[in-house]
């Protein structure tokens, strides 16, 4: 790590050290040696400082930008795509089940109507059980509505984060830091008619009622 100026300086000091010693000037030789030692110390500290500066600054800023860029261009779009896929899959699956249930229920109605003329009581009883079961399956598909609402909320939230980060990146580039509008990521819990969405275990809100019983109690307390 020695540049040209350092080299010239060292050479001059070395020459004067040799001439001091040849002339028997021990005190001068001592001073020259001290000067050389001081120079060497400075040189190593400077090198160390440069190394620390390199580790601290230059790579981190670049790396941060690269990471943020990757989050924005790859990871968040991928999360949204995956969530949309799950949402579509749930929707398709619920639709298929409903199609089958509706066809089976129609068949049940036909059997019920036809069997009533005959003495086919066993068949009627079984058909009744079957249609009850099918109605249970039917109602169970409501998971698609509730999970779909939760998924679209998550998709909205991730989209909001994405827009916020893009804004942040753009504003950082111009030092104008007035972030507004789309930065608000989570709409939940606002007053008025803003929908809140389904109750989610682990994210309970004290303002939310737990079940139909509590809703009925509140309404009857209001004179309903």
């Amino acid at each position: 790590m020695m540049d040209d100026m350092d080299q010239q300086h060292y050479l001059a000091l070395a020459r004067s050290l040799v001439s001091d010693l040849e002339r028997g000037q021990c005190d001068d030789a001592e001073r020259t040696l001290e000067e050389i030692t001081r120079l060497r110390k400075n040189a190593s500290y400077e090198a160390l400082d440069r190394l620390i500066a390199l580790m601290d600054e230059a790579p981190s800023a670049n790396k941060l930008d690269a990471t943020l860029g990757q989050i924005l261009t790859q990871e968040i779009p991928e999360i949204i795509e995956r969530l949309n896929y799950v949402d579509d899959m749930i929707n398709d699956s619920a639709s298929k089940t409903l199609n089958h249930v509706e066809r089976c229920l129609e068949a049940c109605e036909l059997v019920k109507a036809g069997a009533s003329a005959e003495v086919l009581n066993d068949l009627k009883a079984q058909t009744h059980d079957l249609s009850q079961g099918l109605n249970e399956i039917l109602l169970a598909q409501s998971f698609q509505d509730l999970s779909g609402q939760v998924l679209s909320r998550v998709i909205d939230m991730v989209g909001g984060i994405e827009r916020y980060m893009v804004q942040l990146l753009n504003h950082n580039a111009h030092e104008d830091r007035t972030l507004e509008g789309e930065g608000s990521v989570d709409r939940r819990g606002e007053a008025g008619t803003e929908p809140y969405g389904p109750r989610i275990p682990g994210l309970e809100n004290p303002e939310m009622l737990k079940d139909q019983g509590e809703v009925d109690d509140l309404l009857s307390s209001m004179g309903f």
Partner: protein
């Protein structure tokens, strides 16, 4: 009796439609939000409205307010079937003139109970 079901999820519309069929109501139409539902209601013939709250476009609470504000359909019975369960929202719906409030997930018995109750009251008054 002609019933309109309003929900942005077709799955939920189909579920309610099938449950209503079991209860003996087969004249059922569907809409996917308040903006689609309101002109259908205004064009007449509906006896009962079952609506979700949280929908893109016009929400259920605003559909309810629009119904109550229109002299032609102001007395239409309205049942909210929604995942929204905040106290403020239920109070808000009651003040806007809702006839019944079912919170999702619900079962067939609850739907029957609330519909029966609404028509009992209407007949009594």
């Amino acid at each position: 009796m002609k019933i309109l079901i309003v929900d942005d999820f077709s799955t939920m519309r189909r579920i309610i439609k099938n449950l209503l069929k079991e209860l003996g109501f087969s004249n059922v139409s569907e809409a996917d939000d308040g903006n689609t539902a309101l002109p259908m209601l205004k064009s007449g013939g509906f006896d009962f409205l079952i609506t979700d709250w949280n929908m893109p476009g016009m929400q259920g609470i605003d559909l309810l307010r629009n119904v109550r504000a229109d002299p032609g359909i102001a007395t239409l019975p309205v049942l909210l079937v929604t995942a929204e369960a905040k106290k403020d929202q239920i109070v808000e719906a009651a003040q806007a003139g809702v006839n019944g409030y079912i919170v999702k997930p619900f079962n067939a018995a609850t739907l029957k109970e609330k519909i029966d109750k609404i028509f009992e009251r209407i007949q009594a008054s």
